[in-house]
């Protein structure tokens, strides 16, 4: 990276460190920070959408839809989320390949599950065997995102379901008295008002989501945990210009600090947002704000 990095063995500590931290491999760990941020940026809205769908389904007057919504919310309870992550990644992968197999290879007669093997025809492989590396990586990442969205969607559905019930009944009755239809009441009165009730739960969820991102490692994505283990391990001078002992402890300390800063910033931002949203609301928080101003 820097011009003085040509022979690291003669450098003193500080330039050595500067060179060491900017090697090509270290660039991968910095990129993987963006992987984490990308995961959060995609997962959060998708999970919120799943949650909204789940909560609406759980409130539905159509019984099967209601059962579906309620069981979606309930199913994530009682089981560790990591079990879901491990389960969904394989299950989704096999599900997609199975469906493609059914659609693409109609003349295939052998069963898909043969003992301990899961066999689909070549054309149904996902991604295709001859696809470039980046397709494989993107596919793995999308599976991870979908898994995160399903699990956190259930949490979000739980929060939104509670928030929808917390909107004062009188507000909805007023809307009905104005002659609004069910749909209008839902979109124009209930949905705008529920956010203030949902926000504490959702911000909690955001924190949990941030803290769940290292689990990407278990889903086979080369994320920061993967690189911290790779880069921190003992390196001898035979394989690298920068030999060092077992530094994995320091790498994970750095990750710890990274997450601490990240959660702290989120906390501050969410606090501000909450102050904003409670403004003028008929809740204890809004009342306190009004009194403080007066």
């Amino acid at each position: 990276m820097f011009s003085f990095c040509t022979d690291p063995s003669v450098l003193s500590d500080r330039p050595w460190m500067a060179c060491y931290l900017t090697t090509g491999k270290h660039m991968s760990i910095y990129y993987s920070v963006f992987t984490v941020l990308l995961l959060l940026a995609i997962t959060a809205p998708v999970a919120l959408a799943f949650g909204f769908g789940g909560a609406t389904a759980a409130r539905s007057s159509f019984a099967p839809l209601r059962w579906f919504g309620k069981s979606y919310i309930a199913i994530v309870r009682g089981v560790p989320d990591i079990a879901f992550f491990l389960f969904f990644v394989i299950a989704l992968d096999q599900g997609i390949e199975y469906l493609r197999h059914k659609a693409l290879c109609r003349d295939w007669t052998e069963p898909v599950r043969q003992g301990n093997d899961f066999v689909v025809c070549q054309a149904a492989k996902m991604p295709l065997g001859d696809a470039p590396q980046w397709v494989h990586e993107t596919y793995g990442f999308s599976l991870a995102v979908l898994t995160f969205a399903i699990v956190f969607g259930a949490f979000a559905a739980n929060v939104l379901f509670g928030a929808m019930r917390a909107v004062p009944r009188a507000q909805l009755e007023t809307a009905e008295a104005y002659g609004m239809s069910q749909r209008q009441t839902f979109w124009r009165v209930l949905v705008p008002q529920m956010w203030v009730f949902a926000l504490p739960g959702l911000s909690n969820l955001w924190m949990v989501l941030i803290k769940a991102t290292p689990l990407l490692f278990l889903l086979g994505v080369e994320d920061i945990v993967y690189w911290a283990r790779e880069l921190g391990g003992t390196k001898t001078s035979r394989f690298t210009d920068y030999p060092h002992g077992d530094w994995r402890m320091w790498y994970f300390l750095a990750l710890l600090v990274f997450y601490l800063i990240f959660t702290r910033i989120s906390e501050i931002v969410l606090d501000r947002l909450m102050k904003r949203l409670t403004h003028g609301q008929a809740t204890a928080g809004g009342e306190a704000q009004r009194k403080a101003a007066a």
Binding site: G78, P80, L86, I90, D117
Partner: protein, 268 residues
């Protein structure tokens, strides 16, 4: 091989009693149920010990955080912030590698790199921080009248804490503490995926479930079995905590007793 035989062979496999080799092929449902169930021993071990030790430390942390003295308050605040603000998964990794490098300097730290002690310590510190925050919140919302009544009776210091503040704090914190306990037991599933090695394939329930899923390439059997065990465990925790809750509130009139409302997710 009958199922009873399998249970005899693998029922205590997770703690090293019974058959040495894990089954390699032709996995029966019975084998999967037995081994995953045997792995639950570890989950329960980690959960129970971390919870019991964490409870006392959490009380100290909560009192420290609520203390007007900076010398007590600042360390408690930082401790809670660090353990609540970072992922448990990273804490496990950090703890493991920390113990590993300590071990190479001092042989005393030898057992700390094993899961039974090292992971237990991380879990203990983590749950103490979360519980400490819950207890602190409860301390802040103790009704003013309760403390004033204690003052009026001439209680001070330890006896006021022991007889008035502490029981009220527990009463207020109990529903949230139940959630924390459930989450802690779920978190124990992470142990063997985060650096800590499963010595001689003695792992927890998720370790064995993952083993079967890898071998059979079929996630639809072992993971639901795992889910079944964890739901069972959750129900047991909820009923035990419910009994304690009833005990804590036994002096209240019947209708004023707060039922333990269950919202085991999202809280953490």
């Amino acid at each position: 091989m009958s199922c009873l035989q399998t249970i005899q062979d693998y029922g205590l496999r997770a703690i090293g009693i019974g058959e040495r080799l894990l089954p390699r092929e032709d996995f029966t449902l019975c084998q999967q149920f037995t081994l995953i169930g045997s792995g639950m021993i570890w989950n329960i071990y980690f959960g129970v010990f971390a919870l019991v030790f964490g409870f006392f430390f959490a009380t100290a942390l909560a009192v420290g955080k609520a203390s007007p003295n900076k010398l007590f308050r600042k360390p408690s605040e930082w401790f809670i912030f660090i353990f609540r603000g970072s992922p448990l998964f990273i804490q496990f990794f950090f703890g493991y590698f920390l113990f590993l490098s300590l071990k190479s300097a001092y042989p005393f730290f030898d057992p700390f790199t094993a899961a039974w002690l090292g992971a237990l310590i991380v879990l203990f510190l983590n749950t103490a921080a979360y519980t400490g925050e819950i207890f602190y919140g409860a301390l802040q919302s103790i009704p003013k009248g309760d403390v004033e009544a204690a003052d009026a009776y001439g209680m001070t210091g330890w006896s006021r804490f022991r007889r008035v503040i502490w029981p009220t704090m527990l009463r207020l914190a109990w529903p949230a503490y139940t959630n924390e306990a459930i989450f802690l037991f779920h978190a124990t599933a992470l142990v063997f995926f985060s650096g800590f090695p499963a010595w001689q394939q003695r792992g927890d329930a998720l370790y064995y479930a993952n083993y079967f899923a890898d071998k059979t390439f079929n996630p639809f059997v072992p993971y639901p079995i795992l889910a079944f065990y964890f739901i069972l465990l959750t129900l047991v925790i909820v009923s035990i905590f419910g009994i304690v809750n009833a005990k804590l509130n036994r002096h209240l009139p019947q209708e004023a007793r707060r039922k333990l409302r269950l919202r085991p997710n999202v809280i953490r």
